[in-house]
């Protein structure tokens, strides 16, 4: 089954699928180990641990198969884990938005939470400036307050400490 025309060294060169397989293997083994801590029971009377162990083992097996087929295939894999132009700042902004939403929502209220979330996310775009982001954030905040606070009445104080 293994095509003979590519030398093994060539095929052993790190491919993305080795990482993919390894990740599934780790997740599967992890799930099986944690699952075996619950009561497994018998086939007729399954305990809560039966399914997790069964699925964990299956996932680990799939991980091995994914890595194995990558090894057996002679086709070069062009895909890389990291994109060609990593957007660290953009990613940070997208993650930062919800984090600020959580913190400001918990301690500040809906208005600062929404504004900060949209503002920070918008900064992540390479053409986004402080001004355009602020304008967008202000617009979305007004719209969001009208829709979610006044129209849909979700329980989320506009500004904690103030009775708006």
């Amino acid at each position: 089954m293994i095509p003979g025309d590519t030398p093994l060294q060539e095929r052993l060169k790190l491919k993305r699928d080795y990482y993919a397989g390894a990740l599934m293997l780790v997740l599967g083994v992890g799930a099986a180990i944690i699952g075996s801590g619950y009561k497994i029971g018998t086939l007729a009377r399954m305990g809560p641990g039966f399914m997790p162990v069964m699925l964990g083992v299956t996932l680990a097996f799939m991980g091995l198969l994914i890595a194995g087929t990558a090894l057996a295939s002679s086709e070069p894999d062009e895909g890389r884990f990291m994109p060609d132009n990593p957007q660290w700042f953009g990613w940070l902004c997208i993650i930062g938005g919800p984090v600020l939403f959580i913190i400001l929502g918990q301690y500040g209220g809906m208005i600062p939470a929404v504004f900060a979330c949209v503002f920070v996310c918008a900064l992540g775009d390479k053409t986004g400036t402080v001004k355009t982001s602020a304008v967008l954030a202000a617009g979305v905040t007004v719209f969001g307050v009208l829709l979610f606070h006044y129209l849909l009445n979700i329980p989320f104080p506009l500004l904690r400490g103030f009775n708006l």
């Binding site: 018998t42 809560p48 994914i66 957007q87 997208i94 993650i95 929502g105 918008a122």
Partner: protein
């Protein structure tokens, strides 16, 4: 049989035409059409955001609205493909091949007109198929015991993971991962907390909205940020008067439309093959049987009519296994099934008899919704075209706000927002490793019911695994599973010509900056 169907349908129209339900149906298709036009937003994310807002509603208008988003988005998605050559919705990716050349020749309006006709024909057939087939499937499914349900779910899961895009092995891995995520929370029978890592918020399990919005929202935005090209609006000028196709065009499009419709409705019945596959298969078929295959790719009207008809007929047919058997065929259906469960409706064969208002109301609303969509799209085409030019840098921050507040509103709990963010980051890592997120949702929704039925069937058989083979219907489903696996191994080893041809067509479709906004 026909007379009962007509009586039921009459009842359904009564439900769907209640002003309240009609309003939500309209709202659903309007929002759907809108997100269909906007590049980078998909029906999965939209339905997830709207889902918490339906918690206070009756189940009927809620389901009508959420379904409307799905088929409404299909109308909008075609506009994007034809006018901008931007396949932001996978089911319409293949429409780019002939739709955009037509636009360049100044016949974009004709292409859109044909699309709307094809959509309506396809959808009508899909709905009719549902009217007659669903009750028939239910009659069969009522005989099912836990063993049959279990094997049937296995077919659904396996088909969903191997027939979708990408490597089948990775698809299966994602399904299993989804099943594992579905296990998080307290065990139904013993109350034992599983995979909760001591976090109290996880005792009720992972929130379906958090999973869907993490995988199809946040991960998607991380993937496409600063990665989208500016849209070329040069050709995107269409007025109402351009949209009426000439007699010659209609004649050319007629038979491809019918063939596309039939193929699409067939694809809808095979679990795992949703509208995307239907559109590719029908395009390939049409090119093959055409007397002038060289016209394809250079603006053949058949190349627009056929895949569009099959997409829409498949979209409506997709509801059949979901509503009659409780087995969703793809991500959107998994989400709708989750919505039914949240509204306290047990999916499965008993749904039609116990919740006739939902089932027949939904079918009637499909027709009303499709007529509304035709009305929305013909006179308002100028507005939709304008919306195409909204840049992504305004879209995704606003969408992030909807994601955050949508997840918060589900339980009024900030923990869920963090959960969504965590899932989003994991989702992006999986995306970069070339895993497609769609099967995760499928596994997640079916997981708890799969475990319950698996346990019950082995309890009945006293731990005897042969119960799955001894019962003929169950054995038949397992046989399908084996066929699915053997077929995949065969494709991997032999690389048959049909698959290669389809890959070739797939390779012609312009690359999309958006990965998997809608399956």
């Amino acid at each position: 049989m026909i007379s009962t169907a007509i009586t039921d349908l009459y009842y359904g129209f009564g439900v769907a035409l209640e002003p309240h339900n009609l309003m939500y149906c309209f709202l659903g298709v309007l929002v759907g059409n809108l997100v269909g036009v906007l590049p980078g937003m998909g029906p999965v994310a939209t339905i997830s955001i709207l889902l918490p807002l339906t918690f206070g509603m009756q189940p009927v208008p809620a389901i009508l609205m959420l379904s409307g988003v799905y088929y409404g988005a299909q109308y909008g998605g075609a506009i994007c493909s034809i006018l901008l050559n931007l396949p932001c919705h996978p089911p319409h990716a293949v429409t780019c091949l002939d739709g955009f050349p037509l636009t360049k020749q100044g016949k974009g309006g004709t292409a859109l007109g044909i699309t709307i006709i094809a959509a309506f024909v396809g959808a009508s057939f899909g709905i009719t198929e549902m009217i007659f087939l669903a009750p028939f499937l239910v009659k069969m499914a009522l005989e099912f015991g836990p063993a049959e349900v279990c094997s049937l779910m296995l077919v659904g899961l396996l088909a969903g993971s191997t027939l979708a895009k990408g490597s089948p092995l990775k698809g299966i891995a994602m399904t299993v991962l989804g099943l594992l995520v579905g296990i998080v929370g307290s065990d139904i029978e013993t109350g034992q907390p599983r995979f909760t890592f001591g976090i109290t918020e996880l005792f009720d399990g992972v929130e379906i909205i958090a999973l869907a919005l993490g995988m199809f929202g946040i991960a998607e935005f991380m993937n496409s940020i600063n990665n989208t090209e500016s849209v070329d609006m040069k050709y995107a000028k269409v007025g109402i008067s351009d949209m009426f196709p000439s007699k010659a065009d209609l004649k050319l499009a007629f038979w491809p439309m019918i063939r596309g419709t039939l193929l699409g409705s067939l694809c809808a019945l095979i679990p795992g093959t949703g509208p995307t596959i239907a559109s590719f298969v029908s395009y390939a078929t049409e090119k093959k049987i055409s007397k002038t295959p060289e016209r394809f790719g250079h603006g053949a009207i058949e190349g627009v009519a056929c895949p569009e008809a099959s997409t829409h007929s498949s979209v409506q047919g997709d509801f059949i296994p979901t509503m009659s058997l409780g087995i969703p065929g793809d991500t959107v259906m998994a989400l709708l099934l989750g919505a039914l469960i949240i509204h306290g409706i047990v999916p499965g064969p008993q749904l039609i008899s116990q919740h006739a208002d939902i089932f027949w109301g939904l079918i009637a609303s499909f027709w009303i919704g499709n007529i509304l969509l035709v009305i929305l799209n013909v006179p308002m085409i100028g507005l939709w075209v304008k919306l195409l030019s909204i840049p992504y840098r305004y879209l995704y921050p606003s969408a992030m706000f909807f994601v955050c507040i949508g997840v918060y509103a589900a339980n009024n709990d900030m923990f869920q927002v963090g959960e969504t963010l965590f899932i989003g980051v994991i989702g992006y890592i999986l995306l970069r490793l070339d895993f497609h997120p769609a099967p995760i949702l499928l596994g997640f929704v079916l997981g708890p019911r799969f475990e319950e039925n698996f346990r019950r069937s082995l309890l009945i058989s006293r731990g005897d695994l042969t119960t799955f083979i001894d019962r003929p219907i169950s054995a038949f489903f397992l046989l399908i599973c084996v066929v699915l696996i053997v077929a995949q191994v065969y494709v991997w080893l032999r690389k048959p010509k049909i698959i290669e041809e389809e890959r070739a067509i797939e390779a012609q479709v312009p690359a999309t900056p958006y990965s998997e906004v809608a399956e």
